[in-house]
C-alpha cells in the first residue's frame, strides 16, 4: 500500500506539479487549497504525511499545523519561501517535523518525504529506560510511571536514538543525520526546537531537564549530566 500525502498549497499549479512529482514516485496524493479545507481533508483521508505551505488564505499554515498536531502525530513537512524569517521556527514550534525552502529541488523533496515515512528499524522486544521514562520501542510507547506519553514518530525517534546510548553526547549535526536523514550541514534549529518539544512532553520540569540534557557547546545526551 502506497503512502498517502496531503498537499496543502493555495497555488493550484504548484499543487498540481507537486502531485505529479509525488505520484511519479508512487505516492497517493490528496489536495487542499486553504487552511479550512486542509483540516477537513486531513480528517477524511488520514494521510501518512502532510506537505504544508505556510502562507495560506484563511487559517494560516502555522495554525493548521497546530490543529493537525493536536489530533495526530503525522509527519508534517513545511513548504516555505522564507527561510530567513521567524516563520520557520514558529512552524517547527507548532509541530512541523521538517521544512523545505522554495524553490526546492524535487529530488530533495522526495528524499525528505521518504526520510519522514521511513519505518524505524526495530529490534523486537527492545525496551529502554532513562530516568523515570520507560520506552517500549516495539510497541512505540513511552510511559512516565503509569502515564502514557504521546510522542510524534519524530520525537520518538529522537528519544530512542538518545536513549539507546545513554550518557553519549550527540552533536546537533549527528542528530540531524540520524533523525532527519540530512547528509550535509543543515539547519540546527530543527534539533533545538524538537528537543524543546520533546522535553515539554517527557520532563517533569522542562526548564530543568533531567532526561534529555544539554551539553553546552556540544549537543545533547540522555540522562542527567555528570556534575
Amino acid at each position: 500500500m502506497s503512502a498517502r500525502i496531503l498537499v496543502v498549497d493555495d497555488d493550484r499549479a504548484l499543487s498540481e506539479m507537486l502531485g505529479m512529482v509525488l505520484q511519479g514516485d508512487g505516492f497517493d496524493t490528496v489536495f487542499a487549497a486553504d487552511g479550512q479545507a486542509a483540516i477537513e481533508r486531513f480528517r477524511e483521508s488520514r494521510p501518512d504525511l502532510v506537505l504544508l505551505d505556510l502562507m495560506l488564505p484563511g487559517i494560516d499554515g502555522i495554525e493548521v499545523c497546530t490543529r493537525i498536531r493536536a489530533e495526530s502525530g503525522v509527519p508534517i513537512i513545511m513548504l516555505t519561501a522564507r527561510s530567513d524569517t521567524g516563520d520557520v521556527v514558529r512552524g517547527l514550534e507548532a509541530g512541523a517535523d521538517d521544512y523545505v525552502v522554495k524553490p526546492f529541488n524535487p529530488v530533495e523533496l522526495i528524499a525528505r518525504v521518504r526520510a519522514r515515512l521511513r519505518e524505524p528499524q526495530q529490534e523486537s522486544g527492545e525496551k529502554l529506560r532513562i530516568g523515570d521514562v520507560d520506552i517500549d520501542v516495539t510497541g512505540h510507547e513511552v510511559r512516565r510511571g503509569d502515564q502514557v506519553v504521546s510522542l510524534t514518530p519524530l520525537e520518538f525517534d529522537l528519544l530512542v536514538i538518545l536513549a539507546r546510548k545513554p550518557q553519549q553526547v550527540f552533536t546537533r549535526e549527528v542528530l540531524l543525520e540520524k533523525v532527519w536523514g540530512y547528509q550535509y550541514k543543515a539547519d540546527t534549529r530543527l534539533v533545538n526546537v524538537h528537543v524543546q518539544r520533546l522535553r515539554a512532553k517527557i520532563e517533569r520540569d522542562p526548564d530543568r531537564p533531567t532526561i534529555v540534557t544539554t551539553v553546552r557547546g556540544v549537543g545533547y545526551r540522555a540522562g542527567a549530566t555528570a556534575e
Binding site: 506539479m17 512529482v21 502562507m55 519561501a81 522564507r82 524553490p103
Partner: protein
C-alpha cells in the same frame, strides 16, 4: 631642542597634560599673572611703607640731634671751664647731656682737623668704635665746609647682640669754650625698630599674598569647573551620539552663547535621528519588498522546476528531439534559481543592516570542508596550507563558507587546470585566507572591477561552474560585515591571488594581514601594492549580531 629630549621623562607627562587641558593652561597662566601682580603690588607697597617709615624716623632723628646739639652748645656757652681738667669734665658732661636729651646713646665727638693745636683741648671720644669707623670723609668734609647746621649719612649699626641694622649718623658742630676749638658731634641713630616693623609688615603681606593666591586658585578652579561643565556635557552628548545613541542631547545651560551651540547640536541630532529613522524605515520597507518579491517569485519558480522535472521523467529516449530542450530548461531553472538567490542576498545587503549569526568557528576546518566539497569539480590540484588560524574565531560560518567557496570556485574556473594553493594563517590581530591560482590572470584595469556586480573579465570565456556575476560582490560584503576585507592581486599570465582578512574581535580597527597579498613567487613591480598589502582599516557596516549556542 636637546634639553627637551633629555628632560622628557620628567616633563613629558607635564607637556602632554599642558597640551591636553585648557583648564591647566588657564589655571597656570592665571596663577603666573596673579603671582606677578601680587609680588609687584607687595613690593611697591612695602617700598612705599618702608621709605615713609624711614624718612619719618630720619626726620625725627635729625630733630633729636638738633635739640641735643643746641643743649650741648648752650652748656658750652655757659661753661667757665678754662683748663684741661675743666674742659675734660665739660666733655664728659657733653656726653651725658647728649645721652640725656637725645634718644640715642651712640655719640662720637672729634676735634675738627683744620684748627691750630691746643693744649687744653679735650681728646676725641666715642661711645662706640663703630661710629668712629663709620664716619665717612664726605660727611666730615661737608660739615667742615658747608653752612648747614646738620649733615647725615646712612650707616649700618650693630647692636650689642651683634644684629646689624640700618641707621643714620647725624653730624653737627659744637664749639668748646676757652679756645679749645670746634668739634664734630656725631650722633648715631639705629633704625632697628623700623626694620622690625618692616619685617613684620613684610611677613603679614606675604601671608596675605599666599592666602590671596590660594583663594584665587580655588576660585579659578571653581569657575573653570563651572565654565567647563557645559563643555563636558556637550562632549559626553556628542560621544554618546557618535556611539549610536541617537537620542543623546545636550541639556540647556543657561548661557546665550552656549545654548546656541546646544540647540544647534540638538537640532543636528534631531535631523540625524530623523534621517536614521527614515533610512531604517526605508530599509524595513525594502526588506519587506525583497521578501515579498522573493515569495512571489519562488512559488512560480518552484512550479516550473517541478514541471521540468516531470518532463525529464517522461524522456525515455535520450536522443529524442525533446531531450535537449528539457535539459536546457532544467539547467536554466537552476541558473535562474541561483541568480534569484544572489539577487536577494545582495539586495539584503543594500537594504541596510544585516543579521550575523555568529558562532565560534575553526577556519581551517571550514576551509578544508569547502575544498573537499569542490575538489571533485576541479581539474586543478588544490593544496591546502594551514600555517595557522586553528584557534576558533567568532564568525557567521555560512557567510565565510560562501566567501571561501566562491574564491576556490573562481580559482577552479580560471586556474586553467594548474594547481591552486589555499593558505591560511593568523597573527594576533587577524586571520587570513589566501587563494592563489596560476591561471591567465587579469590586466590591472580588469582587476579593479572584479568586485563589480555582473562584471566579467572575459565575456567569451566558457563557464564550467556557472556563476551569477554577483558572487564576488556578495563575498566582499560578507567580508565587510565581519569587519574584514577581501582583496585581489592579479597579473596577466601569472595568475591571481585573492585574500580574505578577518580581524579578531570587534575592537580591532586597524590590522595587518598575516598572508601576503602579492604572492612570494612573483617579482613585485611598481604597479603592485606593498607585499603585505599594508595596514588594513576595518570597513564600517551596520550589523545586528545573533550568537548561536
Amino acid at each position: 631642542m636637546r634639553w627637551i629630549k633629555t628632560t622628557l621623562p620628567v616633563l613629558g607627562p607635564l607637556r602632554r597634560a599642558w597640551g591636553n587641558s585648557i583648564r591647566l593652561r588657564t589655571m597656570t597662566i592665571t596663577g603666573i599673572i596673579a603671582i606677578t601682580m601680587v609680588t609687584i603690588m607687595g613690593a611697591l607697597v612695602l617700598d612705599r611703607i618702608s621709605s615713609d617709615l624711614y624718612s619719618s624716623r630720619r626726620d625725627q632723628a635729625l630733630q633729636d640731634s638738633a635739640r641735643a646739639t643746641l643743649a650741648v652748645q648752650s652748656q658750652m656757652d655757659t661753661s667757665d671751664a678754662t683748663d684741661t681738667s675743666g674742659l675734660n669734665a665739660l666733655a664728659g658732661s657733653v656726653r651725658s647731656t647728649v645721652q640725656g636729651t637725645s634718644a640715642s646713646q651712640l655719640i662720637y665727638v672729634r676735634r675738627q682737623a683744620n684748627q691750630l693745636p691746643s693744649n687744653i683741648a679735650p681728646d676725641d671720644f666715642s661711645t662706640s668704635q663703630q661710629l668712629v669707623d663709620a664716619v665717612s670723609t664726605d660727611l666730615s668734609e661737608a660739615l667742615l665746609e658747608g653752612n648747614a647746621p646738620q649733615y647725615w649719612q646712612a650707616v649700618r649699626l650693630v647692636d650689642d647682640e651683634g644684629n646689624s641694622s640700618p641707621g643714620i649718623l647725624v653730624a653737627s658742630t659744637i664749639v668748646f669754650p676757652a679756645g679749645a676749638g670746634s668739634y664734630d658731634l656725631y650722633i648715631g641713630y639705629s633704625f632697628a625698630d623700623v626694620t622690625k616693623s618692616i619685617e613684620f609688615i613684610t611677613r603679614a603681606l606675604i601671608v596675605m599674598a599666599v592666602l590671596l593666591l590660594l583663594l584665587l586658585a580655588v576660585l579659578v578652579w571653581a569657575i573653570s569647573s563651572l565654565v567647563f561643565r557645559p563643555i563636558r556635557a556637550a562632549a559626553s552628548a556628542s560621544h554618546r551620539l557618535a556611539a549610536g545613541e541617537t537620542d543623546a542631547r545636550i541639556p540647556m545651560q543657561g548661557d546665550r552663547h552656549f545654548d546656541e551651540l546646544s540647540s544647534n547640536f540638538n537640532h543636528m541630532a534631531d535631523t540625524l535621528q530623523t534621517r536614521i529613522n527614515e533610512l531604517d524605515q526605508l530599509s524595513t520597507m525594502q526588506q519587506r519588498f525583497v521578501s515579498d518579491v522573493s515569495h512571489e517569485l519562488r512559488t512560480p519558480l518552484t512550479t516550473i522546476r517541478l514541471a521540468a522535472e516531470v518532463l525529464r521523467g517522461q524522456i525515455i529516449d535520450e536522443n529524442s528531439t525533446q531531450a535537449r530542450p528539457v535539459q536546457v530548461l532544467n539547467d536554466q531553472v537552476d541558473r535562474f534559481e541561483s541568480l534569484l538567490a544572489d539577487l536577494l542576498e545582495i539586495s539584503r545587503y543594500d537594504a541596510g543592516p544585516v543579521t550575523l549569526e555568529t558562532e565560534s568557528t575553526n577556519l581551517v576546518l571550514l576551509t578544508e570542508e569547502v575544498v573537499e566539497r569542490l575538489r571533485p569539480l576541479s581539474q586543478s590540484l588544490i593544496e591546502l596550507r594551514p600555517l595557522g588560524g586553528y584557534s576558533p574565531i567568532e564568525v557567521d560560518a555560512r557567510r565565510i563558507r560562501r566567501i571561501v567557496s566562491n574564491l576556490v570556485g573562481n580559482a577552479i574556473e580560471h586556474g586553467e587546470g594548474k594547481p591552486i594553493v589555499v593558505t591560511i594563517d593568523s597573527n594576533a590581530a587577524a586571520i587570513a585566507i589566501g587563494v592563489r591560482d596560476w591561471g591567465v590572470g587579469m590586466k590591472p584595469e580588469d582587476t579593479q572591477h572584479v568586485f563589480d556586480r555582473f562584471w566579467r573579465a572575459d565575456p567569451s570565456r566558457k563557464r564550467t561552474l556557472g556563476g551569477t556575476g554577483l558572487g564576488l560582490a556578495i563575498a566582499r560584503e560578507d567580508a565587510a560585515v565581519h569587519g574584514g576585507l577581501l582583496e585581489v592581486w592579479s597579473r596577466l599570465g601569472e595568475g591571481t591571488n585573492f585574500r580574505l582578512t578577518l580581524p579578531r574581535g570587534d575592537e580591532t580597527a586597524v590590522f595587518v594581514s598575516p598572508v601576503p597579498l602579492v604572492p612570494d613567487d612573483v617579482v613585485p613591480d611598481e604597479g603592485d601594492p606593498d607585499v603585505t598589502g599594508g595596514w588594513l582599516r576595518r570597513p564600517g557596516r551596520r550589523v545586528r549580531r545573533e550568537r548561536n549556542r
